[in-house]
């Protein structure tokens, strides 16, 4: 876990003071709403359908139990008793009063939590693998590099008023859990033939109305050059990114319009001029930050503890274990995913009581650490395998042990019409209806890994383009319709889904999804062929024929 010191705390206090002053000037009329808006957005404050919304950053998805408990407090004291974990390693509170915002912010700042740069046209909260530091797959802890970027980008004097928002994601494992290929900058940390660490750099990925998979502009960037290279990208983008049209302002459009090669040339020229300057990272600097990440005192433990072996005889526990528990880099420990997708509940919501409980569980079994993943689930990254049965019992008692991670009811969904001022259609109820159809866990296990992603409008906050099944709400004559795409994926083989056919009305969505799934069950090459692989092998045509014949 990263340890903040007095400097970080001073900065947060100064930021809260500045925001309090800005709210004051807004209330007195010294700032117009037009002037205030970008300032409040940069502190995570939105004006939504019903109320102000506060979005809080969870840097690289890492929380300690005190921080989660404080979020529970904010949910209880200033909101309606729950919070919503998002696809961007953030949590949102939907019902906070403007007058109470500075107070809520100050309460969060006490534990080092804030909404800085969770919105606005700046470099947003840098995201990474929720298993960072715990998975045996990675070549280094990606959070170290996310922290270096967090510091670099916080209140950056040159890049706080960019043409549009800017999102960076990092992975250090071969299996990409951070969706790096659909970010403005995607970084894959790996080692070259000489064993040196460096980044593969992708740029210009993104979703929204014009989705793109990122383009490779550098196969290997030595780690010490990370900041100068990112600065070169930002500087090219800041000067040449389009500002005439908000829909064309993202870096993906610039890269698309001038071509990845031209873009890369401009970046390399800028990089050549700065690479040996103030931004170059020395070993000393890297080690300073590395030293602030404290790891648990792992003990040598049995990898097959008796308590676990015994518990696995219980089929309910065994199902959860198969589904939610993953291999840790240290023998005797496990990574545990906590599904925030109980059947029929809004994906990603957690009540204040659940947050408190998870904080307690992290204290009791997980070295006080909790993670948030872009799938809107939580994770305890460091649990002794012998404690798994007890952990499960306590999760189960709180309705937090649904064994559906990576299954069809583990749906990603944006807030949609229930909260969002931009929505065309509902997203949460669609997710709830589909989850109910597939509530039979044996059936969903038979279907295997299948990701459904739902967005309530073209902005794609629910990542619908990269869902194995993507569902996009559109509006026609004042009614909610939904477009379905198949074959998208957000992992290391990221690709955008293909449209299945005409949009269908709200009521038809769940049965259409069932038809798609039934078609897959018939057409798959065998029980081990995943949905996504069947779609990739056959294309969408056979699905289209069956599904639209039925509707």
């Amino acid at each position: 876990m990263y340890v903040y010191d007095e400097f970080d705390r001073a900065f947060l206090a100064e930021r809260v003071a500045e925001f309090r002053d800005q709210v004051g000037r807004r209330l007195s009329g010294a700032l117009s709403e037009d002037e205030f808006k970008p300032l409040r957005l940069m502190n995570g404050v939105y004006l939504q359908l019903h109320a102000y919304m506060l979005r809080i950053a969870i840097p690289y998805g890492t929380l300690n139990s005190d921080q989660l408990r404080r979020m529970a407090h904010v949910a209880r004291r200033y909101d309606r008793g729950y919070g919503h974990f998002t696809t961007r390693q953030n949590i949102q509170f939907n019902w906070i009063k403007l007058e109470e915002l500075p107070e809520a912010m100050a309460a969060l700042a006490e534990v080092g939590v804030h909404g800085i740069q969770t919105s606005g046209n700046c470099i947003r909260n840098v995201t990474t693998d929720q298993w960072a530091g715990a998975t045996p797959e990675e070549c280094d802890d990606p959070r170290l590099w996310a922290e270096i970027l967090r510091q670099y980008s916080t209140l950056h004097p040159e890049f706080t008023y960019l043409p549009r928002k800017f999102k960076i994601a990092i992975t250090a494992a071969d299996h990409d859990r951070a969706a790096t290929k659909v970010h403005d900058i995607g970084l894959r940390l790996h080692r070259n033939d000489q064993g040196e660490l460096g980044f593969e750099v992708l740029v210009g990925g993104g979703l929204g109305r014009t989705p793109f998979v990122g383009k490779h502009i550098r196969p290997f960037l030595p780690v010490r050059d990370l900041l100068s290279y990112v600065e070169a990208i930002m500087r090219v983008y800041n000067q040449y990114g389009r500002r005439d049209n908000i829909y064309k302002a993202r870096i993906k459009i610039l890269v698309h319009e001038i071509g990845a090669e031209e873009f890369s040339k401009a970046v390399e020229a800028e990089f050549a001029a700065t690479r040996d300057g103030a931004l170059r990272l020395t070993d000393e600097m890297i080690e300073e930050i590395r030293g602030r990440f404290l790891y648990p005192d792992f003990e040598p433990l049995d990898d097959q503890p008796a308590a676990l072996v015994e518990a696995l005889k219980d089929p309910l526990f065994a199902t959860w274990h198969r589904n939610s528990v993953h291999k840790h880099k240290i023998p005797g420990y496990s990574i545990v995913t906590i599904s925030l997708k109980p059947i029929g509940a809004p994906p990603g919501d957690a009540t204040a009581d659940q947050m408190d409980l998870i904080a307690d569980l992290a204290d009791d079994y997980g070295f006080r650490e909790i993670r948030v993943g872009h799938e809107q689930n939580l994770c305890l990254p460091n649990v002794a395998s012998k404690d798994l049965p007890e952990l499960w019992r306590r999760l189960d008692a709180a309705g937090l042990a649904t064994p559906n991670v990576n299954h069809i009811s583990d749906i990603i969904a944006c807030p949609g019409l229930d909260y969002c001022a931009l929505a065309n259609a509902r997203a949460i109820p669609v997710a709830q209806e589909i989850a109910k159809r597939f509530s039979d866990l044996d059936r969903s296990r038979g279907i295997g890994r299948l990701h459904i992603n739902i967005s309530g409008c073209i902005n794609a906050c629910g990542h619908h383009h990269v869902g194995h099944i993507g569902i996009l709400g559109v509006e026609k004559n004042g009614q909610e319709f939904y477009q379905i795409t198949l074959g998208g994926r957000a992992d290391e083989q990221a690709q955008l889904g293909t449209l299945l056919g005409p949009a269908v009305p709200y009521e038809q969505v769940p049965s259409l999804i069932e038809d798609v799934v039934d078609t897959y069950m018939e057409l798959r090459a065998g029980p081990h062929e995943l949905f996504i692989d069947t779609v990739t092998r056959l294309g969408v045509e056979p699905f289209k024929e069956r599904v639209y014949a039925a509707h």
Binding site: Q22, A30, Q151, E158, N238
Partner: protein
Amino acid sequence: MPLIENGKLIEDRFIRVSDDEALPEGVAVLIGIDRFLKEAEMLKGRKAPVGVIWPNNRPIAEIAPYLGQLSLIALVFPIFRDGRAYSQARLLRERLGWRGPLRATGNVLRDQFLLMERSGFDQIDAVKEADAEAFDEAVHRYTVFYQPATDERPSLLRQRLGRTVSGVR
């Protein structure tokens, strides 16, 4: 509009002259880019100082050949959310070596003073009187800086490492 230079309100000695007006003799003038580029040769003979307003959509590197004959460069924030001039300012200071006065003009609010100062501006043309008065407060709001910039304040990382060797920030 109140003009601030290095934290103090100053009198603007430059007179803005539009493209179709005759240039007054013997006074410092601030002119647009089109006029400047057209008359650059002729302006070399001029005794009084010349400043230019460089637009934010034109590569700043193009100014390099003219730096010797300029006494002021003004960069533009047409709306305060348009941050192109921050990059231009840094390039002017750090790449092109401009040491003369660099002015921020346009829709400039107190919430950006610090960013402007850190990007190399030393003159700020504030829109609001109250903002100009709050200059000192605005640029001293923060004691922690997370990244190196043109102003050479040490980044937090350097501060933690406990050394700010000159030239290395």
